[in-house]
């Protein structure tokens, strides 16, 4: 498979950030109250991811190793601010639905995780494709989870009402419902024996933020060196 397509395949399926790597739980649980919200958040993250991967890859030889993390944070935070302002200007409806979760893209494990685990090691073209792949994977997952919750919780699909069999189970568009859907999702994957970060025994982090822990592990090594 062509190297670029491989990145896409990796991001969407093999190492899907939400389902397999279990990164970025915060926005996943929070914004998937409807498919549209999930889609919106996914696309915003996609945009940031592409550019952050690209920039960090381009600068991989310039950024000194010790200040790696703060540098990444500044870059990502700036990109997020840009996305925030653009959204505020052009899609205010979506902007207010996503609310605080837009600036929180900064601390989305996916972005920093990919920067650390991949983008600073490869050339920009691959980094961009990886960003597209991961971003697409994230977007698709969020949209699907959003669809499920929307269907169960408000009996609509992408905002269009469905004929009512029985009244929707509203809890699914509320906080407990998010946890419920995630729990069942991971259980289903476990039952299908799909290897996810949840059932891989990762030292330290019990399943979540696997890439983050890799990043932080190298941080820890740094501490002992210094």
């Amino acid at each position: 498979m062509n190297r670029y397509m491989e990145r896409i395949y990796n991001g969407v399926i093999k190492e899907n950030p939400t389902i397999i790597l279990m990164l970025g739980m915060c926005p996943t649980l929070a914004v998937t109250t409807s498919a549209i919200n999930g889609l919106g958040m996914g696309l915003s993250t996609l945009a940031v991811l592409i550019f952050s991967n690209m920039i960090i890859s381009m600068m991989r030889n310039i950024i000194p190793d010790q200040v790696r993390l703060p540098a990444y944070i500044v870059i990502v935070a700036s990109l997020v601010t840009v996305v925030d302002l653009i959204m505020q200007a052009y899609v205010p409806g979506l902007y207010s639905s996503l609310g605080i979760y837009i600036p929180l893209i900064v601390v989305n494990c996916i972005i920093l995780g990919r920067a650390e685990a991949y983008a600073n090691k490869v050339s920009p073209d691959l980094a961009i494709m990886d960003g597209i792949g991961m971003g697409l994977g994230f977007t698709i997952s969020l949209t699907v989870i959003g669809l499920v919750r929307e269907f169960l919780g408000s009996a609509t699909l992408f905002g269009k009402a469905l004929p009512e069999l029985c009244k929707p189970i509203a809890i699914f568009v509320k906080a407990p419902g998010a946890f419920l859907v995630m729990a069942v999702l991971v259980a289903v994957l476990n039952a299908a024996h799909i290897k996810t970060a949840a059932n891989k025994k990762v030292e330290g982090c019990d399943g979540c933020c696997a890439s983050c822990s890799k990043m932080c592990n190298s941080d820890a090594k740094e501490e002992t060196k210094a």
Binding site: K167, P168, I169, A170, I171, K174, P176
Partner: protein, 513 residues
């Protein structure tokens, strides 16, 4: 160290009592009175709700056991009890998919996925109820039957209305299917007698709840108010049947008392400061979450400890005893107070009636006026006006003549500026504003001096005068009608009396003219 092999943890290790089919059967039996009453009162649909809930719970457990290749646990009856409890806590007119969804959720998500019987950390029926409350808010709080809408007694209480507690007690008011307090109490006692539950949890829960409501509910120790709150809102069902679930409650006796108390306090908190009447369930869930910590409270005596190195924790027990005693005392006192209140009011009226009659001879009876009473309450027990010194308006009544017309007004005022203490007097004012006269109900001044204020010679100076205010003439020899000669040598007492009368006149002018 591989934690899976060596599970080193402090006791207690055995968490749940043996919940065999017989204990579950006892619980189901104890719920029969409430169930029967619910069906009797709410009819066929209620029966269907109960049936649907039990059916869904049992089938879910059966199917799950089958798919998961586990031994069939339906026989132990816990699914039946869960289904029954859930149904009894639902409004009678809910569409049938509600108990079905609730039952499935309770068994599957709260029990089976955690490992089945004995492994759940929250009560399945209660959790399912809250799940339904969150998902189907309007359906779950709609207590109308057959399109006759009604508000629950608790909602009425919150709105400030009074309710018929007896009806609530028996179960004739609108509410959930298992809402008959009488039936639940009966069932709870039966269960306790049969040994299915211990008394610690229901007692501490209800006691703590009652204490909280009495202290913070805004109506003091009013027994009617407290009883209404205990009988409504799922308190009895929760305390006897849901909180006592051995799987989700502490093991030790002391822990159970703490658990019940915490639940009662939380329930009171939600009742008083919450917007929903339906909050006892949440109190149960939150208490469930605290059980692991409550279980750690009583420190077990480790092996090998010498005597004296480890002190028994007596404090919580003593505190609980004290609370219960205070509660009972409070309730007893308030009951007596409520019974004697009217009689005491009558007596007080009779005592003052004599002096009121003196200053309003044409009146046959005296009555209170609401606006005037409100004005007095608005004074809030403060002095009326600084210019009158320390004077307080006690009460003001309207004198009614035999033909129903207003015979006059009587205002009772106290002045704290008397030489020896308080002076209380009644000022009679005729309908046209003339002062009829004054009469003392409290005069403890110096004999031969201040006491002379009570003599007719002094008192008559006030009679028949129409004025806005009197003035005191210490030197004597008054000329104007509204000048009052002070009793010689007792200008303080006289002054206090004049101020009191002026207070009455001012109050009259402001509120009763």
């Amino acid at each position: 160290m591989n934690r899976k092999l060596f599970n080193v943890s402090s006791g207690p290790h055995i968490r749940s009592k043996l919940t065999t089919g017989s204990v579950m059967a006892d619980v189901a039996l104890a719920l029969v009175p409430a169930t029967l009453f619910g069906i009797y009162r709410y009819g066929l649909h209620a029966f269907l709700v109960i049936a649907a809930s039990i059916f869904a719970s049992v089938m879910t457990e059966f199917i799950f056991d089958y798919i998961a290749k586990k031994p069939n646990t339906v026989k132990d009856g816990s699914a039946v009890v869960t289904g029954l409890l859930l149904a009894l806590s639902l409004p009678p007119a809910v569409p049938l998919y509600i108990p079905i969804i609730g039952g499935i959720f309770a068994i599957l998500f709260v029990k089976c996925f955690f490992g089945g019987l004995g492994k759940n950390f929250m009560n399945p029926a209660v959790t399912a109820r809250c799940f339904l409350l969150i998902s189907y808010g309007s359906l779950m709080t709609n207590y109308s039957v057959d399109a006759v809408s009604s508000s629950t007694p608790l909602a009425a209480l919150k709105a400030g209305e009074t309710i018929n507690v007896t009806a609530l007690y028996v179960g004739q008011t609108s509410g959930v299917i298992g809402g008959s307090a009488l039936a639940l109490l009966l069932g709870g006692l039966i269960l306790w007698v049969m040994g299915g539950i211990t008394f610690e949890i229901p007692l501490s829960c209800i006691a703590a709840f009652t204490a909280f409501m009495a202290l913070f509910g805004g109506q003091g120790f009013d027994p009617v108010f407290l009883l209404a709150h205990i009988c409504g809102g799922g308190v009895l069902m929760g305390a006897f049947f849901m909180a006592t679930d051995p799987v989700t409650s502490p093991v030790t006796s002391r822990g159970q008392v703490v658990y019940g108390a915490v639940m009662g306090i939380l329930a009171g908190l939600f009742r008083v400061y919450g917007t929903a009447a339906d909050s006892f369930s949440y109190a149960i869930l939150i208490s469930n979450m605290l059980v692991p910590f409550i279980d750690k409270l009583p420190i077990p005596k480790p092996l090998g400890y010498k005597n004296g190195e480890y002190k028994e924790r007596q404090f919580p027990k003593a505190a609980v005893n004290l609370t219960v005693i205070t509660l009972i005392a409070g309730l007893a006192l308030s009951s007596v107070y409520m019974l004697t209140k009217d009689k005491i009011d009558e007596q007080k009226m009779a005592a003052s009636a004599a002096s009121y009659q003196e200053v309003c001879p044409d009146a046959e009876s005296f009555s209170y006026d609401d606006t005037v009473n409100a004005a007095i309450e608005a004074l809030g027990g403060e002095t009326y006006d600084a210019s009158f010194g320390k004077t307080y308006v006690n009460e003001a009544v309207v004198g009614e003549a035999a033909d129903g017309s207003v015979a006059g007004y009587v205002i009772s005022v106290t002045s704290g500026d008397g030489f020896e203490g308080n002076i209380t007097l009644a000022v009679g004012i005729s309908p046209d504003g003339t002062v009829n006269g004054i009469s003392f109900t409290e005069l403890n001044e110096t004999a031969g001096m201040g006491m002379l204020c009570g003599e007719d010679a002094f008192k008559s100076q006030f009679s028949g005068v129409q004025t806005d205010a009197f003035t005191l003439n210490k030197a004597g020899g008054s000329t104007a009608d509204n000048e009052i000669d002070s009793v010689s040598g007792a200008s303080t007492s006289s002054g206090a009396v004049v101020n009191a009368v002026n207070t009455a006149l001012a109050f009259y002018a402001a509120n009763m003219k």
